[in-house]
């Protein structure tokens, strides 16, 4: 795959070299504007494609429940953006709509997306609307041919929308297979990490900011965002900022899958969540450019104020609670951030607002019943109890009551150190120029002094 860059460049028709400003740095904002679309134009394109403008629900019952168990005066109002109302059933339609629009405009006859997630269905749906061919590549099964119900459901959905689905066994070679497919078909690379895919999510943050402002006359105190590859956090945060929200805390939430190896054939079916988990969020936050484009447009560390994890059992519990108390049956993956919001709302004042920024569709395969039955078949011990006993790959502990929900903080300082270590691995850090230092500071959302201090502490070790 020596031709990696050539294939990537042909399949996106974007010359990424124009953004490079020094050996380490590139002009991120320039990259995000070469698109030539401002947020109003993105909204127009999405409206044409029947994407976005989803309902923002006030979860009145859950808010009341949280207030009943919180200290007096605590218990923020919980709002939820019902992204399941998008054409293919998730916020991923926002990411796909712009990419597929761009593919059509540039004269491509088809699109390729490498994803085991909702993004495949979103690209398939948008391609169907635009009359383009679509190929979705999934990491779908282990070496015994066994696939998780959630991924099989996603394949079914793609095929029902007219897409070809290439199902692959476990392994990072998915990336090379996708490149070979792009090379063969000359289709557009509907990468999850292109500027289009991120700009498409900005409308989600923008809608939340404007709707909360209109209804409540203020900024939300926090927005909880299910965090995997970083596009959801990056796009939502950028949209909130573009509206003018500067106080709102950006909280990334992932399902804790600590200890499971993401490239392991045997671990593959020992997890119940195929996205929104730490197996994606930690590597993509600390090393965003490990993607299928030269510069990843998803750069979550620029925006994250807080990064927390919840357990698989807590998300299943929350999914049930949403159905039984609010009458909203939604897929588990989107409820990751709701699980966290139920805990964080207890720490905020009653007059504050916390927003859960997505839901996803549900159905056979994408439902706690299907996923827990599958887990049991894989030998996972599923029981009701204290979620602190959770051990990814061995146990799924379903909380017995609401007071058992917890969140675990991931230390962002360690994540920043890890980012810098990855970025500066083969660099002489004593020779970094000002451009590089400014870039690194922006990348980790810290000032220049922070970078200077990092260099001083590590110059002997790393140089």
């Amino acid at each position: 795959m020596q031709r990696r860059n050539e294939i990537i460049s042909n399949s996106l028709k974007v010359n990424y070299e124009q953004f490079q400003t020094s050996p380490i740095a590139f002009d991120y904002e320039k990259m995000m504007t070469v698109l030539g679309y401002n947020i109003k134009e993105v909204m127009k394109i999405q409206k044409e494609a029947q994407v976005g403008n989803t309902p923002l629900w006030e979860l009145k019952q859950l808010t009341k429940l949280i207030r009943n168990i919180s200290p007096k005066g605590k218990g923020a109002r919980i709002l939820m953006k019902d992204e399941a109302a998008n054409p293919s059933g998730s916020f991923k339609d926002r990411r796909a709509s712009l990419a597929v629009y761009e593919a059509k405009k540039r004269g491509f006859t088809g699109v390729v997306a490498a994803t085991s997630g909702n993004y495949g269905a979103a690209v398939a749906s948008q391609a169907a609307k635009q009359g383009l061919k679509c190929i979705v590549l999934q990491e779908a099964s282990d070496s015994d041919g066994i696939g998780q119900p959630e991924i099989i459901e996603k394949a079914r959905k793609c095929e029902s929308l007219g897409a070809e689905v290439v199902q692959l066994s476990v392994g990072p070679e998915l990336f090379y297979t996708a490149l070979a497919t792009l090379d063969e078909t000359k289709y557009f690379n509907a990468s999850l990490y292109s500027p289009y895919a991120i700009a498409g999510v900005e409308t989600l943050g923008y809608e939340i900011a404007s709707e909360v402002q209109q209804q409540f006359g203020k900024e939300p105190a926090a927005v909880c965002i299910t965090h995997a590859g970083g596009g959801n956090v990056t796009g939502t945060a950028r949209g909130l900022r573009k509206y003018g929200n500067i106080q709102t805390k950006i909280i990334g939430v992932s399902v804790d899958l600590k200890g499971l190896h993401m490239a392991s054939d045997q671990d593959f079916n020992r997890k119940s969540f195929t996205t929104g988990h730490t197996g994606f969020s930690i590597p993509f936050t600390t090393n965003p450019d490990r993607s299928d484009v030269p510069y990843n447009a998803a750069r979550p560390l620029r925006y994250l104020d807080q990064f927390i994890t919840v357990t698989q059992g807590e998300v299943f519990y929350t999914t049930e609670l949403l159905a039984k108390l609010e009458g909203l049956e939604r897929g588990p993956a989107g409820n990751t951030s709701l699980a966290a919001a139920l805990v964080l709302a207890q720490q905020l004042d009653e007059d504050e607002i916390i927003v859960v920024q997505e839901t996803e569709y549900t159905g056979a395969g994408k439902h706690p019943v299907a996923q827990l039955n599958f887990a049991k078949k894989q030998g996972i011990n599923v029981y009701k109890g204290n979620p602190e006993e959770n051990k990814p790959g061995s146990t799924i502990v379903i909380p017995e009551h609401i007071q058992q929900l917890r969140v675990e903080e991931i230390d962002l300082e360690r994540i920043r150190e890890s980012y810098l270590r990855n970025k500066l691995k083969n660099q002489n850090i004593n020779k970094l120029n000002t451009e590089d230092k400014n870039f690194l500071a922006k990348e980790i959302n810290r000032d220049l002094n922070y970078i200077e201090s990092y260099i001083n502490r590590n110059s002997s070790v790393l140089s």
Binding site: L65, S143, V166, L168, P172, E173, T177, L321, A364, F374
Partner: protein, 100 residues
């Protein structure tokens, strides 16, 4: 009697990489097994099951592979009830109604 007629909706399987050709940095359990691909499509010509065949996929590509399944099923479902989930909400509704 294993001839499958042209035009039948089928699944083919291919080994893309043998274990020795896989990425060196993979965990051992993954490195030991081949890298496989499965794709569904309409059979381009009559073919025998478990033999090589060509299909036309939904995107219109022609793909060769071992013919493994006829009219492949979606076999994912909900399955039996999960008892651990059934009582969720009872206690919370009591809290809501201050009956705790």
């Amino acid at each position: 009697m294993n001839i499958v007629k042209k035009g039948t909706w089928v699944e083919v399987k291919n080994i893309i990489l043998n274990p020795e050709d896989r990425l060196s940095q993979l965990p051992k359990d993954t490195k030991e097994v081949p890298y496989e691909m499965k794709v569904k499509g309409f059979l381009a010509n009559d073919a025998n099951i478990n033999e090589n065949a060509t299909i036309r996929t939904l995107s219109g590509r022609l793909i060769k592979g071992e013919l493994t399944q006829l009219q492949p099923e979606y076999n994912h479902s909900f399955g039996p009830p999960v008892i651990e989930l059934l009582h969720i909400g009872e206690e919370e509704i009591n809290i809501l109604n201050n009956r705790q």
